[in-house]
Symmetry: none
Subunit: 143 residues, 4 copies
């Protein structure tokens, strides 16, 4: 498995924020977790509200939990809400099941981490996340 | 009550994984809990995502909680969501109410443990769980 | 980083249990966590008491938390008890700071997981853990 | 009150990491919290162990909790352990009471955030934290 280095994590963040600027998005928080769900790097832009770190982290953590981008969790929450409730419970309340949590995969398809973004609409958050992962040379899985 | 030995628990796991391989399922996590809901044995296959132990455990724990396989909980969640919410709350957030949590019963019908599986669709997870319990000479109750 | 496969995790467990048998130890629980602290494989021997999974897991998790075997945490708990209390708190109560949590390192020294054992004295638990890691071809770090 | 901008937070982090490199310290995690105790920016260096974000965050949070650097909490923990236990409890378990959590003060002495560092000895962690705060043009309070 490829290691997700700090340099790569910072490249993902700065590229995602550049995409946010290009699209005219509101202030964002970007969180990069390693494959085990532990924080590697975070940047919360000026003006992004108080709990944006926790929300962004919850999207990324949810994606890692089930091995698919958080958009899939969003769909599950609508069709099988009790599954999401159970998943959230056994995670210790660490999951936010909306788009914007995107898996980071290496060339062999192994999950090496996840990026979570929040601040604008979930769809726009996800667009920035995908752009960040691609700019770092990895493959995004948005769900 | 028949004891659920470690040897029997391992037989359940390896048989369930063999069934998964036969059916071409995705990587699985298999958890065997004893009659008190405590972990007896676990195996998480390579490629199974991060929180699969917690999800599988939550299915098995839910089955033991009410004395019926977790498929029953899945139905309850649809018809009486407030019951599942209450059950989850009083369990301390330990329950995942979807199929794949199967009770292990001895010849006299006593509950001696439960197996929980996750990784593929809930229906397929349950098939592997049933196969595992039967291979060990016990009676499965899927709910 | 080398992946900690399920086969290797099982090799660690069976070798640790063989060592326990050789030394005449009480029934053990053996937990193998991956590098992110997530359960890879568990076996709790017949006669090992109710919460042995949680204790073994807490030793392994503590070792991963700080990147050194749990014997080091044991010393810290005596010399700087408030550090251990803080560490335990921010971990969400997941750490048991006594010997028996041993890091699993690959040939390059990278931490690829941890094994935790409980059931006999902490010193004996640790001996079994070290034996398990070595038998799988990895380098143990007991702290 | 001066705002702690993301640019300034990043300046603190990169300067602290530069100090760590200069001193030959082990891999570090650096967390910058705003005046409300919410994450502004984080970088965890390659090789820094699993729970380093939580530990660094706990030092910074503790400093903000009482308005003095976490070295003061370390002393309190030795002379009045029950105070630290109470403080940890009412914080929801968010505090690590050892040196390395340093307040960030503006020219008028107002607290605008805190930086927490972990990875090497607590004394060395604190040195890197102080260097980071000063490099960003602010006044450190280590306690």
């Amino acid at each position: 498995m490829t290691d997700l280095t700090l340099n790569k994590a910072l490249k993902i963040i700065t590229s995602a924020l550049a995409k946010g600027k290009e699209l005219g998005l509101k202030p964002l928080a970007v969180v990069v977790l390693d494959a085990g769900g532990h924080v590697k790097a975070v940047q919360r832009q000026d003006g992004a509200s108080m709990l944006r770190f926790e929300i962004a982290s919850g999207k990324a953590y949810g994606a890692l939990a089930v091995g698919v981008g958080s958009r899939w969790l969003d769909t599950q929450a609508e069709t099988r809400p009790h599954f999401l409730e159970g998943l959230s419970a056994v995670s210790g309340g660490k999951i936010v099941a909306v788009p914007g949590g995107v898996l980071i995969k290496d060339r062999k398809g192994a999950i090496i981490g996840a990026v979570g973004i929040t601040g604008d609409s979930s769809d726009n958050d996800e667009r920035a996340a995908i752009a960040g992962v691609e700019a770092a040379g990895f493959t995004p899985d948005a769900g």
